[in-house]
């Protein structure tokens, strides 16, 4: 494979955060998704985390942490004015009733049929689901973030997931270091390409057909 490695992790998160619309209730998964809240965007976002925090703000600097308050990733966040706290059953009532406008999840694999996998690695007996299955099944939009290939270069964007899925047919946006993709059933639409990356490079690194629009845009990094 030749060409650029594409976007850095924060840059992928930045691009995803630009999809958030004014007034959206946003749930960010652990890992790269959390970085979306670092992106400077001028939309009014309400961050929800599984443990019942509605309206949290930036992570507090060391020494200033409120030890009673963490987000879903265990980070000691702050609260914005107007925040509210509910218990776990009410927090997932919010999720299951479709009030989360978007969940952004870090995942292992995405398929062009809209499936994705993020809770169980090959050969493991158990798994780590957390709130991902509830979010994936019920959020209005499911965005996923992942490195385009495994460490040994195998594709993570596939025709069908090889790992056990988290939810079926729910993904509407896939963001990787190489580009921004929309699952279209039997193929991925390449919505935008990372700077310095080529379409051939993406095709070689992807386990599913790629549709390339005539007016392919390049991702604008911040």
């Amino acid at each position: 494979m030749s060409g650029s490695n594409g976007l850095a992790r924060q840059q992928i998160a930045d691009r995803v955060a630009q999809e958030f619309q004014d007034g959206w209730i946003v749930n960010l998964g652990v890992g790269m998704p959390t970085m979306c809240s670092n992106t400077p965007i001028d939309t009014d976002i309400i961050y929800h985390s599984e443990n019942g925090v509605i309206g949290y703000g930036p992570v507090l600097p060391a020494g200033q942490e409120d030890l009673h308050l963490v987000n879903a990733g265990g980070q000691n966040v702050s609260l914005k004015p107007g925040a509210a706290v509910v218990h776990h059953a009410d927090s997932f009532a919010i999720i299951r009733s479709g009030r989360i406008d978007v969940t952004v999840l870090g995942i292992y694999e995405a398929a062009c049929n809209g499936d994705f996998a993020n809770w169980k690695v090959a050969g493991a007996k158990g798994g780590g689901i957390g709130g991902a299955m509830d979010l994936a099944a019920c959020a209005k939009n499911v965005f996923v973030i992942l490195e385009h290939t495994t460490r040994d270069g195998k594709p993570r964007l596939l025709k069908e997931c090889a790992l056990p899925v988290t939810a079926r047919g729910r993904v509407s946006l896939v963001a990787t270091n190489l580009g921004l993709f929309k699952p279209l059933g039997d193929r991925f639409l390449l919505r935008e390409i990372a700077p310095g990356v080529t379409v051939d490079q993406i095709r070689a690194a992807t386990g599913a057909p790629i549709e390339v629009p005539a007016d392919l845009k390049t991702i604008q990094t911040l």
Binding site: V30, S49, E50, N51, G52, V53, A62, G63, E65, D66, L67, H68, L69, V70, N71, G74, N76, L79, V85, V86, H87, H88, A89, S91, F92, I95, R96, N118, W119, K120, V121, A124, K125, G126, G127, G128, I129, G130, G131, A132, M133, D134, A137, C138, P164, V165, T166, A167, R168
Partner: protein, 247 residues
């Protein structure tokens, strides 16, 4: 006239928990975890326990008492959790080895389903339908049903014998306040349990000192409470820097 709910020690509060009990442990990350009660249960030694918890812990150098320690002490027969393996293949948690060797049964439950099954137990609802996990390995061979054109999975209530809670404030009747994300599973585990034991951070208040409109868990759900002594006798989570300093 009623017997006091305030116990003098964690050991006394957990002394009579029998082998084979089903125990729910509140907490999400650090906030709301009943560290002191877990340590007392490690000392008490009850065996064959079923542990209901979001995760079993066990990672990190500055480890506080967690379900993983109960696992390692041979006290656990079964774990019901939203995390029964680490999310990264490179991480290790104590539970994994015991599950791999078949020594402990692990039931993996999506976090929202875990919360709702506990809530159902506390609400006298024996079973309900949820959209979560439909079409996944967790739904394989299980009963589903279509409502309004969408497929849902049947889930059952999860009653527990004992719940271990950690609260911010309490009055002597057992009305509880949780601070910020400390609330998490605490109120619903209290409702799902027959015996609710709470470790409390602040000094006990008199009945009437908590506004009835602000109560998070009404005292009718609470049987036993213990005030957490100052560190080092009592267990308190520390800031990251302080944890680093200790390690």
């Amino acid at each position: 006239m009623a017997r006091s709910k305030i116990f003098g020690s964690f050991a006394a509060a957990v002394a009579d928990i029998p082998d084979g009990s089903t125990i729910a442990f509140a907490g999400f990350a650090y906030p709301g975890v009943p560290f002191n009660l877990i340590r007392a249960l490690l000392d008490q030694g009850a065996k064959g326990l079923t542990c209901i918890t979001n995760g079993t812990g066990g990672a990190g150098a500055d480890r506080m008492p967690d379900i993983g320690m109960l696992v390692e002490a041979g006290q656990v027969a079964k774990v019901v959790a939203a995390f029964t393996a680490p999310t990264r293949a490179s991480d290790r948690i104590p539970l994994t080895r015991y599950v791999d060797e078949g020594k402990i049964e692990a039931e993996l439950v999506p976090q929202g389903t875990l919360a709702e099954r506990l809530r159902a137990a506390g609400a006298g609802i024996p079973a309900f339908y949820t959209p979560t996990a439909v079409g996944t390995e967790l739904a394989a061979g299980r009963e589903t049903r279509v409502f309004g054109g969408r497929e849902y999975l049947l889930e059952h209530a999860m009653p527990v014998d004992v719940a271990f809670l950690r609260a911010w404030k309490a009055d002597s009747f057992g009305n509880l306040l949780f601070r910020r994300s400390q609330r998490n599973f605490n109120p619903i585990m209290a409702m799902a349990a027959r015996l609710v034991i709470v470790e409390v951070e602040e000094d006990f208040l008199q009945p009437g000192e908590i506004d009835p409109d602000e109560v998070h868990t009404p005292g009718i759900f609470v049987q036993r409470m213990v005030k957490i002594p100052p560190a080092p006798e009592g267990l308190w989570p520390a800031r990251r820097a302080e944890r680093g300093a200790k390690a």
